[in-house]
């Protein structure tokens, strides 16, 4: 095998990966409706499944960087800091009060939670909520390293999202008070 052939193979492989990293999704609705035929049982909602479109966002640099920008612009940072928490809980650790799946987080953002998390439905659209969901998961290392943000535009604080250790999410078992 000559050097040129190796070069092209490597380049092609890199392009394959980076295509996915850089793809832009112009669909701006929420989870697509699954058409249900008469007499058929309801199709399982595949939107948040492992191969579903939400997981694609966690492999996509554009979605994650948009999520990071929105995280500041919508004042998430005011309550959760850069993931360390403040008024609200930390987001960079392994503990999740209301669950760590993309579906749980998406629901927390849009509908709020009764102990202080305000609902953002009507303030942000569903695409933005999806981008935020992906970014929030990247704070504890759940997103793909090659797509997660590598730098802050502000005062250096936490390690960049693409180099944090992946936390294994677990439910919150602390006493309530």
């Amino acid at each position: 095998m000559n050097i040129a052939r190796i070069f092209w193979l490597v380049t092609f492989a890199a392009l394959l990966v980076s295509c996915r990293r850089e793809v832009r999704d112009f669909h701006t609705g929420g989870p697509p409706k699954v058409r249900q035929l008469k007499g058929e049982p309801a199709a399982p909602d595949r939107y948040f499944s492992a191969q579903g479109p939400q997981m694609e966002m966690e492999r996509n640099a554009y979605a994650l960087s948009e999520g990071k920008r929105l995280y500041s612009n919508f004042n998430c940072i005011g309550c959760h800091s850069n993931g360390g928490g403040d008024i609200g809980p930390a987001l960079m650790d392994a503990r999740w009060i209301y669950g760590a799946t993309p579906e749980d987080i998406y629901k927390s953002i849009l509908d709020g939670r009764p102990n202080g998390m305000p609902a953002f439905r009507g303030r942000i659209n569903e695409t933005q909520a999806r981008q935020l969901t992906a970014y929030v998961r990247s704070m504890s290392g759940q997103a793909r390293e090659s797509a997660a943000p590598s730098r802050d535009d502000h005062m250096k604080t936490t390690a960049p999202e693409n180099s944090v250790d992946r936390q294994m999410p677990k439910p919150d078992e602390r006493p309530k008070l």
Partner: protein, 575 residues
């Protein structure tokens, strides 16, 4: 109903003991010579493991303890070592209020007057409860949590007015103070900290000492556009009262947001002090400690009332002693609002002093925040040279005992968006131990300050900020607690440590003393770490993020090694 008993001079009926806010007790059974044998008399689990910033209060043989959210009020029988007499747990603040309180779910105390106990809830209610039975007398909803308005301060009852104020400058809340009818809770008056003169209860009798505070509608004119509506200036701190002058004195919080570029102007009437009539709320004078605040320096710290001979041979002057967040200790004439002196009590580099002719704070342009640029080593940091933790003054030693912190910060203004009910901050801040003074990594201090000589007499360094109030007694003993779980007694004249006791969790409360029904002197304190620096523990933050806890994450990253959460009352006495 029989006329309610008035509290005795040896009781402790409000958080600050009395109107002067001196936190001085004439009790002297516990003194320098015997304090070393102080022992635990009894303790009580309050059942809430969040920041316990409140002062227990004592009236007529009963102690009343208010907890952080969910704001449970206990009445403990002092003839039976604190046996629960009754428990009021129907305050039931809206759980969503927990997402609106900037600095933990704290309460700073209840107040006893005329047979009733008054307190505020996190979701913005003021509640009056019968001191005898624990039955609700009235409740009034004053705050709107949907715009971030909470209530954490300890009410002050003056004549027939229950005086309360709101919290939430960090969420762009517009500050106010209100006087409620003691029997019904009806709002008798409400004065805002921003807006038109009529909104601020400024009228023909308003005579500020300095030109800078004079003019029509400055609460509008010193703000761009409608920014005053989001202007902060909340009244979440201490109120003192001089019955002779018939004036209450209260500070106002910092202007919102921390990004000062969105609010050019002096931002009246934030970060200052008002003197008002308690009956009507009418403003008599005002002084602005910090014009157009740049660093989150609220003006809500206590103003201690004292009469001091400032120059020998001259008569004593009626003064206020106020250690401000901006790092200066103000001695003011409380009849006029004149600043007699303003002396730095910590390292200050973000300003160069106070011009006593104009009253203006002289800012240091080198430390002025710039959008998108990190300005390093700003002293004092946003929590200031001293925060809400109240000082104590002894008429015996003529010293002011200051619990405080020695922190500097890095600060970066960033773009800010207003979304109702979410933080309106517009800056990243990172606090750390002041690298110059003291420069040894310590972040807290307890200082005895001579307000006449304008200098410290002694100083004790502490590893963490001293986020606990001070108490001084006629036994010449001073009490305070630390975030690393020590409750301490020191000699009021020398600062020598005389006694210490390790409690369950860090102390951010207010020590008190009282004469028990058995004729013995007791000392009481709540333990339970929390508040702005302690939220690192009480809300399980991840301190690898240095800007967590609004900038305290870096400084407090070791706190979990020293203390866990807690909520326990400790009562001490001599054996």
């Amino acid at each position: 109903m029989a006329r309610a008993q008035s509290p005795a001079a040896t009781d402790w009926p409000i958080a600050a003991k009395d109107f002067s806010n001196q936190r001085f007790s004439t009790l002297d059974q516990i003194s320098q010579t015997n304090v070393a044998s102080l022992k635990l008399a009894w303790s009580f689990d309050v059942g809430v493991r969040r920041g316990q910033e409140s002062a227990p209060i004592v009236a007529n043989g009963t102690m009343y303890v208010i907890t952080p959210y969910p704001n449970i009020l206990y009445a403990l029988d002092l003839t039976q070592s604190g046996k629960v007499k009754w428990k009021f747990e129907t305050a039931q603040p809206d759980p969503m209020s927990r997402g609106e309180a900037c600095c933990d779910y704290v309460s700073r105390g209840a107040a006893y007057a005329e047979g009733k106990v008054f307190f505020n809830t996190l979701d913005g209610q003021t509640i009056a409860v019968s001191a005898e039975t624990g039955q609700q007398v009235w409740r009034r909803k004053l705050g709107n949590i949907h715009v971030g308005e909470t209530m954490t301060m300890a009410p002050l009852v003056v004549k027939n007015r229950v005086i309360v104020g709101n919290s939430g400058s960090q969420l762009g809340v517009r500050g106010w103070i209100a006087g409620l009818d003691i029997n019904t809770g009806e709002i008798a008056w409400k004065a805002f900290s921003t807006g038109s003169d009529s909104d601020c209860l400024i009228g023909p009798n308003f005579h500020p000492f300095y030109d800078m505070d004079r003019g029509k509608d400055l609460g509008l004119a010193t703000w761009p556009g409608d920014q005053w509506k989001l202007g902060g200036g909340t009244v979440w701190g201490w109120i003192s009262y001089d019955p002779e002058l018939d004036l209450i004195f209260h500070g106002t919080g910092d202007p919102a947001s921390w990004n000062a570029d969105v609010r050019h102007g002096d931002n009246k009437w934030t970060s200052g002090i008002f003197a008002r009539r308690p009956d009507t709320g009418e403003a008599i004078w005002y002084y602005q400690y910090t014009q157009h605040d740049l660093y989150g320096h609220d003006g809500i710290n206590e103003s201690v009332i004292a009469d001091l001979v400032l120059e020998s041979g001259k008569p004593a002057r009626k003064v206020l002693l106020h250690a401000d967040r901006n790092g200066y200790l103000y001695v003011m004439d409380r009849t006029s609002g004149e600043v007699i002196s303003a002396t730095p009590f910590v390292r200050v580099n973000c300003s160069k002093g106070v011009d006593l002719k104009t009253g203006r704070l002289i800012f240091n342009d080198e430390k002025k925040p710039i959008m998108g640029k990190v300005v390093r080593d700003i002293a004092p940091a946003a929590p200031g040279g001293k925060d809400w933790q109240p000082s104590a003054f002894s008429p015996r030693t003529k010293l002011l005992y200051l619990p405080h912190q020695t922190l500097a910060m890095d600060f970066e203004e960033v773009e800010v968006n207003y979304i109702a009910g979410t933080p309106y901050i517009g800056a990243h801040a990172k606090f750390y131990a002041d690298p110059v003074s003291p420069g040894d990594g310590s972040m807290g201090a307890f200082t005895a300050w001579d307000p006449v000589a304008k200098k410290p007499v002694w100083n004790i360094k502490e590893h963490f900020p001293v986020w606990c109030g001070a108490l001084v007694t006629a036994g010449d003993v001073v009490f305070y607690g630390t975030m690393d779980r020590w409750f301490k007694a020191v000699d009021a004249r020398s600062g020598k440590e005389l006694w210490r006791y390790q409690v369950e969790s860090g102390i951010v409360g207010q020590p008190i003393t009282f004469l028990g029904p058995d004729g013995k002197q007791y000392i009481a304190i709540l333990s339970g770490v929390g508040g702005w620096p302690g939220v690192v523990v009480s809300n399980d933050l991840d301190p690898t993020d240095p800007i967590s806890a609004h900038g305290f994450g870096e400084a407090m990253k070791d706190l979990p090694k020293y203390t866990g959460k807690g909520g326990r009352l400790y009562v001490f006495s001599l054996p």
